[in-house]
């Protein structure tokens, strides 16, 4: 099953250990994550379900291409990483 792991910077705000969910596309994988941890949703996507501008999602070592529709495919053995862009001061 795909494993979803979150940046430590997100874990500063709320407890979000790695989760294993069913395969599908990124939208389906994240929906499964949010079903288990509803509070995570607004940290990762905006009101319209688009990936937040300063959040990055990688499937293994590749950044996803579809930030709005989240249609990139996630395979059975893939690992999904949720990162943040680095900025601010």
């Amino acid at each position: 099953m795909p494993r979803v792991t979150f940046t430590a910077n997100l874990q500063r705000h709320l407890d979000c250990p790695s989760l294993e969910v069913g395969p599908g596309n990124v939208d389906q994988v994240l929906a499964a994550v949010f079903a288990q941890r509803p509070v995570l949703r607004s940290y990762i996507v905006d009101d319209q379900g688009r990936l937040r501008r300063h959040v990055n999602v990688f499937i293994n070592s590749t950044m996803i291409a579809d930030r709005n529709g989240l249609s990139d495919a996630v395979g059975e053995s893939d690992e999904v990483f949720v990162f943040q862009a680095l900025s601010g001061g």
Partner: protein, 358 residues
């Protein structure tokens, strides 16, 4: 009751005086931008809105004066089509409901939506009656890329007054079901001449209402100081204000409708104190004249700017607290005539407010 002050900053929420200590104390969210703070006087609960940047706007409530916090849902814009479909950018202001609405909260947000909660922030609904106003297409950003609601005032008659940058002044007399565009008389020098008086595109930096005479509304506008005596429907510009009529903050005396305080800066294009001298101005005659107070404030090479929510007056009409973008926090116990520095080293201050504990 024990009074204390809440200070929302770029890097955390602080209180002052809770335990008699005049030094600010961080009571939550160290390192995170706090965009708005509210104590609901009905039940004492404190609400803190965060703007986490990467991870969006967040909202927390404390029922024990900041000792512990509970995360709440944030207002969310309904699903819509298109790349420009709206999404919450941040909560610019929070307000309590009227006297008969102890669980009611209002949230003013970017990109311009007003939200209402009737369960202490556990759920939110967009006020579609304002969002769907045809003139919203004329609104635009002031200081941010998108328009935003920064002023929400609910008076004891349940009248709601809303200030939008840049979308003017809106009034509801029926709990938000219907809205009237006020702001006649406001003047926008940043617009083409034939749009200058258009009430739909005005930039009221901040609105403040006299608690005991709520038809008197003060407006620190992008282009000067204005005053209304008809609940915000129309305004008269107050001119010849020294050292400047430009600024963001205004505080209205709670019982004297002719008294208000302002914190001037040079002008739109140069947002620093005039001649490096940081002062607070006060009128006691409805704007006919102003006094300028400097005692206790830096009088040379000062660069402090006070944001729209960072000047507050207490219910006694004599206590004021003020915080600046350079992290200085002052208190006045004599109606603004002299000031004491509480801290010079806070993060940039977004908001100050007086609070109480039983």
């Amino acid at each position: 009751m024990g009074g204390f002050t809440l200070v929302a900053t770029r890097k955390g929420l602080f209180d002052v005086g809770f335990d008699g200590d005049p030094q600010p104390r961080c009571i939550g969210f160290l390192g995170d931008p706090v965009s708005s703070v509210l104590q609901n006087e009905h039940d004492g609960a404190i609400y803190a809105a965060l703007n986490l940047g990467h991870f969006g706007a967040k909202l927390h409530r404390s029922d024990d004066f900041g000792a512990t916090w509970q995360e709440l849902p944030v207002p969310a814009y309904p699903p819509a089509e298109g790349e420009d479909a709206p999404s919450l950018k941040f909560i610019w202001t929070l307000a309590r409901g009227g006297p008969e609405q102890p669980k009611r909260l209002w949230a003013g947000t970017l990109p311009g939506g007003l939200f209402r909660s009737d369960d202490r922030g556990e759920s939110w609904a967009l006020v579609e009656s304002l969002w769907n106003q045809p003139s919203r297409s004329e609104w635009f950003g002031g200081g941010y890329d998108e328009p935003g609601i920064h002023s929400i005032i609910v008076d004891d008659r349940d009248r709601i007054l809303v200030g939008i940058s840049c979308g003017g002044v809106w009034i509801s007399e029926d709990d938000g079901a219907n809205w009237v565009l006020g702001g006649k008389g406001l003047a926008a020098d940043y617009m083409p001449p034939d749009r200058k008086d258009d009430p739909r595109i005005q930039d009221p930096h901040c609105l403040a209402v006299c608690r005991d005479a709520p038809d008197v509304v003060w407006c620190q506008h992008h282009c000067g100081i204005f005053r209304s005596e008809d609940g915000g429907r129309s305004f008269v510009q107050i001119k010849d204000v020294a050292p400047s009529a430009f600024g963001f903050a205004v505080a209205a005396h709670p019982s004297d409708p002719k008294t208000a305080w302002f914190v001037p800066a040079v002008k739109d294009e140069c947002r620093v104190p005039v001649d490096g001298r940081f002062v607070v101005t006060r009128t006691g005659d409805g704007g006919a004249s102003f006094e300028s107070f400097s005692r206790g404030l830096p009088q040379e090479r000062a660069y402090d700017l006070v944001y729209r929510h960072a000047l507050a007056v207490g219910g006694d009409g004599r206590s004021l607290v003020m915080g600046s973008t350079t992290g200085a926090l002052w208190f006045s116990g004599d109606a603004g005539e002299s000031w004491s520095l509480l801290s010079a080293h806070l993060p940039p201050i977004a908001q100050v407010c007086f609070a109480d504990r039983p």
